[in-house]
């Protein structure tokens, strides 16, 4: 269970997401800017079930406070975190 008030970043490390690029997100926790780090909780999942069937081409998927980011990259995820932090 995530801590109250924290922004929850959920990384999908299922096969499809990992193959399509989630491997690049493995170390994202260490590159979150220091000013945001205490406000963010990062969780890795085996699969978020967003990639099946035709949507696999939009993998990798990440959820930031429930908001789905498709074709996720480090830049996209950091931008989403920044946007959530700044409201």
């Amino acid at each position: 269970m995530e801590e109250a008030g924290k922004i929850l970043v959920e990384l999908c490390f299922g096969t499809t997401c990992f193959v399509m690029g989630a491997s690049k997100l493995q170390e994202i926790e260490s590159i979150i800017p220091p000013q945001y780090r205490k406000r963010v909780e990062v969780k890795a999942h085996t699969c978020l079930d967003l990639c099946k069937n035709a949507t696999y081409m939009k993998a990798p998927f990440v959820k930031v406070d429930g908001e789905i980011i498709s074709e996720a990259t480090v830049e996209k995820v950091l931008k989403a975190i920044e946007s959530k932090v700044n409201g």
């Binding site: 490390f13 096969t15 499809t16 990992f18 193959v19 399509m20 491997s23 099946k52 081409m57 074709e71």
Partner: protein
């Protein structure tokens, strides 16, 4: 080079190709560029949607296993499909440049940037031996006709205002085998190419492709033959699951059985240790390892004088394939690894039939909708050693020889960790002098870091190295494993 966008594009094409094969929809493959870039779709990378589709079409041609160099642009994707479905063996050349994807980079040269302060000292002008730099409008300007690209001006500029513009593929190639042609596009000289894959990893436009054999492999599986997967030691950590689950996922895709190539690596280690002992006892100055396929190509094509110093030992892939064929004479063997050069080695190897890289393996799992984490733990029929399982990391091969030697007082190992112009020069010098000042057992890895840095890896080398180390450390020492089946193969 770590590039999410190009990685995604290449792998999506592969997934679509494999899905089309599995769903018997190869006749619809002509739609691939249009499905990936449908009407009114966003154009993320190129000038227009038509250019993007043209590139995707050529990526699909490479995915079907053909070179793009001879594509007349009239032949439809479906005609390529027909050729792929009816061919007996893959193309001889294993790389192709997707011409439409090649940016046609600015030629490599030394260039004065806007950071030039037009200083009074002007060390660039006084340092240039060729009189190639003049001051115009208060700033340094290089005369391209006179400049020899020596870079001396770069080294003396107090503002670091002079840079070398690189062509990434040319810059990465250790043997000068790729260069821009008269049309400005990259072209591979296959007489020089050592198949190291450096250009594949270096191109930021992903213009250099391996010619995939995935359709050929799927055809073999579909025909009902016994198709055996041989996974390279670098497979550990490619996905965030155990190697046993990856092996089971391969079985779920239709492979009959999975062998660890680490088993063949044990044979390589023992054989190489004996070879080394014999050479040292008869007074040789040094011996190089022989398990890196790109290094072997380098010696054969560029440094033949190094041949006498290269071990005669065959590679882990060869020994593993031999074990498979001895056990199952009718089996089709497929090596699965991170390496471009293994495709070339397999063409010459009497026991290896096909090669699939890790990217293609990943695409296979996606196309089959396999969640590898949910697979059972596959049990390998044979055990491999700690040393064999560590072959994929720089230093692993030399360490395995050391352990297999048991006791040899004058053992001085050294590693060439990555082939580049400097290490190639060193190797030439050692061959010429007949001596290596660094050591008497020279391990050579074309990729910096070892096979874990191969161009077709799914995971980064730091994490993969950690996972391999954990896996190896949980395994028995090579000297505690019986030679068993390895004694039956030809050394």
């Amino acid at each position: 080079m770590d590039n999410s966008n190009t990685t995604h594009l290449k792998r999506e094409v592969l997934v679509r190709l494999i899905r089309a094969f599995l769903n018997q929809e190869m006749k619809d493959l002509y739609k691939l560029p249009f499905e990936m870039r449908p009407k009114n779709a966003e154009v993320p990378y190129r000038c227009c949607i038509y250019k993007e589709r043209a590139i995707l079409r050529q990526r699909a041609i490479a995915g079907l296993g053909f070179g793009v160099e001879n594509d007349d642009e009239i032949t439809s994707l479906n005609e390529y499909v027909q050729k792929a479905m009816h061919r007996d063996k893959p193309d001889e050349e294993i790389l192709t440049v997707v011409e439409t994807a090649c940016k046609g980079c600015v030629p490599s040269r030394v260039y004065v940037t806007e950071l030039c302060q037009g200083c009074v000292a002007r060390p660039c002008v006084s340092t240039c031996k060729f009189g190639a730099i003049q001051i115009k409008d208060g700033k340094s300007v290089i005369d391209g006709e006179k400049c020899k690209n020596c870079g001396m001006c770069m080294s003396v500029c107090p503002y670091s205002a002079i840079v070398r513009l690189k062509v990434p593929c040319e810059d990465a190639c250790p043997v000068g085998a790729i260069a821009k042609n008269e049309k400005g596009h990259a072209e591979i000289d296959f007489d020089k190419c050592i198949s190291c894959g450096a250009c594949v990893g270096a191109c930021p436009f992903a213009a250099v492709h391996e010619k995939s054999q995935v359709i050929d492999i799927l055809k073999q599986i579909k025909s009902g033959k016994k198709v055996v997967a041989m996974v390279a030691p670098a497979v550990v950590g490619q996905l965030p699951v155990s190697v046993n689950k990856i092996a089971q996922a391969l079985v779920d895709c239709g492979f009959s059985e999975v062998f660890e190539v680490a088993q063949g690596a044990d044979i390589t280690a023992r054989t190489e240790a004996e070879d080394y002992r014999e050479r040292m006892e008869k007074g040789d100055e040094f011996m190089t390892t022989s398990c890196c396929a790109a290094y072997n190509e380098l010696v054969d094509k560029h440094i033949p004088e190094l041949k006498p110093f290269r071990s005669e030992t065959r590679t882990p892939m060869h020994y593993t394939a031999e074990l498979v064929k001895k056990k199952y004479p009718d089996a089709v063997t497929v090596f699965i690894g991170p390496c471009v050069a293994k495709r070339k080695e397999a063409q010459k190897d009497e026991y290896t039939d096909f090669v699939m890289n890790f990217e293609e393996m990943g695409a296979l799992f996606v196309a089959f909708n396999i969640e590898v984490a949910n697979c059972k733990d596959y049990e390998f029929a044979n055990e491999a050693s700690k040393e064999g399982r560590f072959f994929a990391v720089t230093g692993g091969v030399a360490e395995s020889v050391k352990v297999a030697l048991k006791d040899f007082p004058e053992f001085y190992p050294t590693c060439v960790n990555g082939l580049n112009p400097k290490s190639v020069r060193d190797l030439k010098n050692w061959a010429k002098k007949g001596q290596c000042p660094e050591g008497n057992l020279v391990e050579i890895m074309a990729c910096e870091g070892g096979c874990v840095a191969g161009s077709a890896c799914l995971n980064n080398k730091r994490i993969t190295t950690k996972k391999i180390t954990e896996y190896a450390n949980s395994s028995k020492c090579i000297n505690d494993l019986p030679e068993g089946e390895s004694e039956k193969v030809s050394k």
